[in-house]
């Protein structure tokens, strides 16, 4: 009996999204999203600008409330729990924001130590050891006394990852990890994600539009377009997919140009109708 329970726990997905709908005012951004992320898996959410992928990520970490649907993280539906319960779940997840979102008025070390100081009763000396370890993990050993403004873009992102790792999260979320970085630095961030995955078997969800990085880090991918899941599958499945929308995104085919004025007007009204 106990064995069966363990088995079901083992096979239970870390994160499960069911028929998720999100609206801003009267405009629905996500129209019923479904997917699951297994323990230790890296899922990449792909999509163009305005596809709703960032909204999806914000909803997954509880920054936006869905209008309907369920988000199960570690056996709790975060779409239907109180703020206190949500905060308990949030202590077990880490989020790395697009621009890093480090607190400009604190040193890098204080940034990393902040969640520990807020949520644990650890001695200051212990916190000091933990923050040095986390900074070393992301390749920023010795930078604890720097201010965020003294770091380069790539270093800021690494520091943000260190802060996200501070509470030893079980799920790590990344918003556009390579945005605004040159290819070499971006490759470094990809390597960091791969290391976290290999060394800690961490469950990772990455939102990006960078194909190269997605192919490198993903176990599975979800392609989102206009608020719908277009395709979902392993990297190989996606690569060999024959779905036109998937092919268009993966082969980087441009949207057909509008040549006639009437078509352009039709496109504009369509756009206006969609954006309310």
């Amino acid at each position: 009996m106990g064995e069966k329970n363990e088995l079901s726990l083992e096979s239970m997905p870390m994160l499960s999204v069911r028929d998720l709908r999100v609206s801003y005012g009267a405009v629905e951004i996500l129209h019923g999203i479904n997917f699951e992320v297994k323990q230790g898996e890296t899922l990449v959410i792909l999509g163009g600008s305005g596809s709703g992928k960032s909204t999806l990520l914000r909803t997954l970490v509880g920054l936006e409330r869905p209008s309907s649907g369920e988000i199960w993280i570690k056996g709790k539906n975060i779409a239907a729990i109180s703020q206190t319960e949500l905060d308990e779940i949030r202590k077990k997840i880490g989020m790395s924001f697009q621009g890093g979102a480090l607190f400009g008025s604190m040193t890098v070390g204080d940034n990393v130590a902040l969640p520990l100081r807020e949520h644990t009763k650890l001695e200051e000396s212990t916190i000091d050891i933990i923050l040095r370890l986390k900074l070393e993990q992301v390749g920023l050993a010795g930078f604890e006394y720097y201010m965020p403004s003294q770091l380069s873009g790539g270093m800021k992102k690494r520091a943000a990852v260190a802060r996200a790792l501070a509470m030893d999260p079980e799920v790590l979320f990344f918003d556009e990890p390579s945005a605004g970085l040159d290819p070499i630095i971006a490759a470094g961030i990809d390597q960091l994600i791969l290391e976290l995955k290999r060394a800690f078997r961490m469950t990772i969800v990455v939102v990006t539009h960078e194909l190269a990085s997605a192919y490198l880090i993903a176990d599975r991918m979800v392609l989102i377009d206009k608020g719908n899941v277009v395709a979902i599958g392993t990297t190989e499945e996606m690569r060999s997919s024959s779905q036109p929308r998937v092919r268009q995104f993966l082969d980087r085919v441009a949207e057909p140009e509008v040549s006639r004025e009437s078509d352009y007007l039709a496109m504009l009204t369509e756009h206006r109708r969609r954006s309310g």
Partner: protein, 275 residues
């Protein structure tokens, strides 16, 4: 046709008015909600295992209070001098120059001390709150706090709130004193008072009530300024220009609401407290 257009513009007028009134109430509602939550973290939270961030509150108090002293002293000193000049203009005709200290002391401690202090603090700190929190909103730092399960209100607003309700009354007392000193400069050079005599005359003309009503008002001003500044910061949209807009709105709304609060409390003291 003309009839129709008139009807339409009348309808338009009423719907616009209704809209503005609704928005006004909604704004007051969000202010009250934010002030309520900040007050909860200051007065109730510490007893429920949510400790106050005293270190942050002290550094805010330093910024709001101590750093404002030089400019506040200068302004209120001149205001006191101006008050003495203006009242002497009328009082000299009646040969009543000896009540200049009374006029200055009363108008400073009952009205101008709290008000001028509030306006200086709005310019220095209310705007800074909106800019600081607005920038944090734009750079996703507020979101980062939330995903780390740290309440932005507890972390950012509460220390400012605490610092403000402590520092604004202190600044007000200082402002009253500087105003009286300003008046004394006139009294001594033009009205034949000695320094000590002028100060003594000022103190004699003040009742405790004159000072406490001013201080109660200044606490209310402090709550208003912090809440407006932080609310404007927290409701900043995307983009750097939005930060500028929130900052401007914070200053304008704070000045407006401080005057309203002033009116309400002055009226209250007049009718309830017997002047």
């Amino acid at each position: 046709m003309a009839q129709y257009m008139v009807t339409e513009s009348v309808t338009e007028f009423f719907s616009q008015t209704g809209q503005s009134v609704t928005n006004g109430f909604a704004y007051i509602g969000s202010l009250a909600s934010l002030a309520g939550r900040a007050a909860y973290y200051v007065f109730v939270g510490p007893f429920q295992g949510k400790p106050l961030r005293l270190q942050r509150a002290v550094s805010q108090a330093m910024e709001i209070g101590v750093r404002a002293l030089p400019i506040l002293s200068l302004i209120t000193y001149f205001i006191g001098l101006i008050l003495a000049l203006q009242s002497a203009y009328e009082l000299s005709k009646l040969g009543a120059m000896n009540i200049v200290p009374r006029a200055v002391a009363l108008s400073m401690s009952r009205e101008l001390g709290p008000l001028i202090t509030a306006i200086v603090v709005i310019g220095r700190s209310g705007s800074a709150f909106a800019a600081e929190i607005g920038t944090m909103k734009v750079t996703e730092e507020i979101d980062a706090l939330e995903t780390m399960a740290i309440s932005p209100i507890h972390f950012l607003v509460t220390p400012k709130f605490l610092a403000m309700i402590v520092m604004l009354p202190c600044l007000t007392i200082w402002a009253n004193f500087m105003g009286i000193l300003g008046g004394a400069l006139f009294g001594v050079t033009q009205a034949g008072f000695s320094w000590l005599g002028y100060i003594q005359a000022s103190i004699d003309s003040l009742f405790l009530r004159d000072i406490t009503t001013g201080l109660i008002k200044s606490i209310m001003f402090g709550i208003t300024i912090t809440t407006v500044g932080c609310l404007e910061g927290l409701s900043t949209g995307a983009g750097a220009e939005e930060v500028g807009r929130s900052t401007t709105r914070a200053v304008v709304m704070s000045i407006f609401l401080v005057v309203i609060v002033d009116l309400v409390f002055t009226g209250l003291f007049y009718f309830v407290g017997g002047r």
